[in-house]
């Protein structure tokens, strides 16, 4: 199979036909400025020196690579000496604030400082990106406003309070479905109004150019570290890399270093919710059609009239009807295989990883674990399976208890 050269993808802010800048005219100057400042920063060694030091001393990078032998046995892939199959976890859950999100918020806060913008806005679903944004704003003394759906605020009270403790103002969004997509609309409305003083730290590889490449550049530290760690410890590359995909930032973060390693299978795991046939899911790549949403062209859950359909997932972080445009391109080129697992499979994987390895994964990350467990019996001897454990599950414990009928 012939795959286009993948290292020079973003031409005019596009990945193949996907991406672009479909935004109100008011925002165009700010997007041009962000693209220019990001390009300059990328070439500036002092920028990376500062970011790397912060990632090391504040975030706790590099994150460990943890082998999960009991999980591997459960997946039916463990066992015998020679020809055994290994499962490795990239531990983004061990970052400060408990998820990969801070890799991006830290980088974008430095860009905001370069642009002289001292007011930061963000959207958040479950609250992980909101917390990561509030955190860097506290650290750099920036004003922080986080938009969060009223429904999500109710489900994630603790994260709301965490953001407030760090000095952020959390604004409830009551429009539409009162979840992540509406919080993103509201953040964009704020940006249109305050664009001259404000930087919008978008939380995933979505939105208008240059956001998908900015976020991907800051998240690709995950894959660079993981690739080097696997090579050093096992003397070879992983055979499979799996990550969950909502907007898709943790997945692109770990995939990017492996895109040109054609022998490495890359698997993006979407949320099938109550099942792809149920219509209640968040599988934009599996079930969506290309459309323009939140500033870019990508796969989108929409009806025949182009109205965006509400997404569903047990995991609030995957509960988004769109997906990053680079994922759309990687799907069409065939470089990444996109699959989907249900709420039930993710909940089972959440329980399995907790019980077998003593690691509570975020429900988002549990989708990637679930896919590895679900391939039971189809792993081959010698497979080296790398899972991006993008976040920790503490935030989800109360909801998992509620869903499984446990009394707390």
């Amino acid at each position: 199979m012939s795959i286009p050269k993948l290292v020079e993808r973003a031409v005019d802010g596009r990945f193949g036909p996907y991406g672009g800048r479909y935004v109100p005219e008011t925002l165009m100057a700010a997007l041009e400025e962000l693209a220019r400042v990001h390009d300059e920063a990328k070439r500036d060694p002092t920028f990376w020196a500062e970011l790397d030091a912060l990632l090391r001393d504040y975030v706790g990078r590099p994150t460990p690579l943890t082998e999960a032998p009991r999980l591997a046995a459960e997946a039916g892939v463990g066992g015998g000496v020679g020809g055994e199959v290994r499962v490795l976890l990239k531990r983004e859950d061990l970052n400060h604030t408990g998820a990969h999100k801070i890799n991006n918020t830290l980088g974008q806060a430095l860009l905001a400082r370069r642009m002289g913008k001292r007011r930061i806005i963000a959207e958040t679903g479950a609250g992980q990106h909101g917390v990561a944004t509030a955190t860097v704003c506290a650290k750099f003394g920036l004003e922080c406003v986080v938009y969060m759906g009223e429904e999500d605020m109710r489900r994630q009270r603790l994260n709301v309070y965490r953001m407030e403790l760090m000095g952020a103002r959390v604004v409830p969004v009551t429009a539409g479905t009162r979840t992540l997509k509406d919080a993103t609309n509201e953040a964009l409305r704020d940006w249109v109004t305050n664009v001259t003083t404000t930087h919008y730290i978008i939380g995933s590889v979505v939105g208008p150019d240059p956001f998908p490449r900015v976020v991907r550049d800051f998240q690709s530290v995950i894959g660079r570290e993981a690739r080097a760690q696997v090579l050093e410890r096992y003397g070879r590359l992983p055979t499979t890399v799996a990550a969950c995909v909502g907007g898709g930032s943790n997945a692109l973060g770990i995939f990017h270093a492996f895109l040109d390693d054609r022998e490495v299978e890359l698997v993006g795991v979407e949320a099938a919710g109550e099942g792809l046939a149920s219509g209640r899911h968040s599988a934009s790549l599996a079930r969506g059609r290309p459309g323009v949403f939140h500033g870019s062209l990508s796969y989108l859950l929409q009806d025949g009239d182009g109205q965006v359909q509400p997404a569903h997932s047990v995991s609030a972080g995957l509960d988004y009807p769109g997906v990053g445009p680079e994922h759309a391109y990687l799907k069409d080129t065939g470089r990444v295989l996109y699959v989907a697992v249900t709420d039930q499979e993710a909940l089972a994987a959440f329980a399995a990883l907790s019980r077998l390895e003593g690691i509570l994964p975020a429900l988002e990350s549990a989708h990637a674990v679930a896919w590895v467990l679900g391939r039971r019996g189809n792993w081959r001897a010698g497979d080296l399976v790398l899972i991006n454990l993008s976040g920790r599950g503490d935030k989800d414990v109360a909801m998992v208890a509620e869903l499984t009928g446990a009394k707390l």
Partner: protein
């Protein structure tokens, strides 16, 4: 373009030595039936061009008033095809400009949309999330159709962008007079005349000012600076809370305001 309905209409307006009144109405709001009546009364009350909004689920450039109206329209079953049917049924003599977001148009099929919109009697298309240069292929398709592509210019539009944006524009230029989303405000921006002058320096097209213009006094003030005045949220709000007759009264006030000479 001299025969284009929008250009023809503006010639008449200029001949009367005044600015054009351009009301915005969300198709399907307050109800599908009432919105058809609203289109007709807008013309009867003195509108020079009517902007008709195709509702979209995620109107990220709109404030609460328009958001609520488009959501209500969708909940009552308004569709893109339904909007075109309404424009057809209204049979307005003044030009109709369709205002919406890109995705409903893409889902309908751009070529098919342009064909059907023209057949229904629409003369222009204004896409909130389709800035100049965003997609040359789509821009060429609109340019090849009889439907004028109305460009939006913002206070943040750089001079470089301004030059490029007006190059592909037709019909008129929609000047977003302030940063922010649609919605009523207390007063019009003090620098509106300078903003208009900046655009006027690079294009011969008429310039209509919009965003936040909500009272007759504001319409009067904006009409002194610009060639046209767009009123949306204030009208939609009155239709929602006080009904069609009140909407017509407000429009007649606005129509008088654009016709008043400078004191």
């Amino acid at each position: 373009m001299s025969d284009h309905p929008i250009a023809a209409r503006w010639r008449e307006v200029r001949g009367e030595g005044r600015a054009a009144l351009i009301p915005y109405l969300t198709a399907g709001f307050p109800t599908p039936g009432a919105s058809l009546d609203a289109l007709r009364l807008a013309e009867a009350a003195g509108a020079d061009v009517v902007e008709v909004g195709v509702p979209f689920s995620d109107p990220l450039a709109d404030g609460p008033t328009i958001q609520r109206s488009t959501q209500a329209a969708l909940e009552q079953g308004m569709t893109t095809g339904g909007v075109l049917q309404q424009i057809h049924d209204a049979r307005l003599r003044v030009p109709v400009v369709i205002m919406t977001y890109l995705n409903p148009v893409l889902a309908y099929g751009l070529e098919r949309f342009l064909r059907d919109a023209h057949a229904a009697g629409a003369s222009g298309l204004l896409l909130t999330d389709f800035p100049a240069g965003a997609d040359p292929t789509l821009e060429r398709a609109v340019a090849a159709s009889p439907v004028a592509l109305i460009r939006l210019i913002a206070p943040t539009t750089t001079d470089e962008r301004l030059a490029g944006a007006v190059r592909g524009a037709s019909g008129f230029i929609y000047l977003i007079s302030r940063l922010g989303v649609t919605g009523a405000r207390d007063r019009i921006p003090p620098d509106l005349a300078e903003q208009v002058a900046r655009v006027r320096a690079v294009t011969a097209l008429p310039i209509a000012a919009g965003f936040g213009i909500s009272t007759a006094a504001q319409v009067r003030a904006a009409a002194r600076a610009a060639d046209g005045v767009v009123v949306g949220s204030a009208l939609v709000d009155v239709l929602a809370t006080a009904g069609l007759a009140a909407g017509e009264r407000l429009l007649r006030e606005f129509a008088r305001a654009v016709r008043e000479r400078d004191p």
